[in-house]
Symmetry: C2
Subunit: 172 residues, 2 copies
DNA sequence: CAGTATCCTGTCCGATACTG
DNA sequence: CAGTATCGGACAGGATACTG
């Protein structure tokens, strides 16, 4: 995804994106989740061409992550606000930020995740039902109750390579 | 990202990807982190065109997520294995899976995240330094010690829109 | 200010064919 | 088996101009 410079490359999210894929969409979501709403705000923040912004915005609306909401009758004006699904995407963004911070923060973290009240740093982690922390390497996947035939087949193949993957269980 | 069908669309990761961006890379990482190593394995699992696979694989190697390792002299054969950075990307993938499961699992989860030993379900969450869980909405960002001028400026702008964003702190 | 309309380039991606 | 070579289509993305 050789984007030319990728806006704001010091941002850990952008750093991650530079390495993994394309994603104007993710950057837009990052901004939307930080409180940006209006076309112009995105436009300024991202330096994206207006036609692309329109396209990406529309696709995010279509995807159900953003809602296009009219905030002025005349002239007709719209703002783009995260839906619950989009809001929940924050975890992914945060995981991204964490990852970027851990591996591409050359001279220290440029952006920190914090509890907004206590101002203490937080991080994204894996926990079990009791809230106990589980190390990432400790994790695996298994078929859920709605696993299709294809999924089961796939997991069966994987279990041949990774002994810790159990292809069978579909119970909740 | 209208990919034609997006391989294995029942997979929550793929579901997420369908909505957010492009990302053969992410799908490749998903597979690599599930134990796939060889060109042919990726090729079969993803149904990706071989030239694209080569490109994506190379770019992931370049990005430092995968290591190209020779496992046979004659004939020369290579395998692609996650580096520590790539390994750590697992959290992001998991966050994705969780998100997909929560919002795009129409008839129940098709893939579950579990502790590989206990087989009990796990999830990706935000925790503070004490390991206490923090709700996602409770989170915000602030400038870290390595924040550049541009980043500080950006955060200053954001703090005008989101009262919970504090533009100033750069201390660890 | 909040976009739409055009045009252009790059490249993502698929399909297919070929090689040691 | 593990790719490389080549071709073509679609669209991402950039630049710019225009509109109410």
């Amino acid at each position: 995804m050789q984007r030319k410079s990728l806006v704001n490359a010091e941002c850990p999210v952008a750093r991650g994106v530079e390495r993994v894929g394309e994603w104007w969409s993710i950057l837009i979501m990052r901004d939307a989740l930080q409180g940006l709403r209006r076309f112009d705000e995105f436009s300024q923040s991202l330096g994206i061409a207006p036609n692309m912004l329109t396209r990406r915005l529309n696709s995010l609306v279509e995807a159900g992550l953003l809602e296009r909401r009219q905030y002025s009758e005349r002239p007709p004006r719209f703002e783009y606000v995260p839906t619950p699904v989009g809001e929940d995407f924050r975890v992914v963004i945060m995981a991204f930020i964490g990852w970027g911070n851990r591996h591409f923060a050359n001279e220290g973290e440029s952006l920190q995740l914090v509890d907004r009240k206590t101002r203490r740093p937080v991080e994204v982690a894996v926990v079990d039902a009791d809230g106990a922390r589980v190390s990432v390497e400790q994790c695996s996947v298994q078929a859920g109750p709605a696993a299709s035939e294809g999924m089961l087949e796939r997991l069966a193949l994987l279990s041949a390579k990774r002994s810790d993957i159990d292809p069978s269980p579909r119970t909740a």
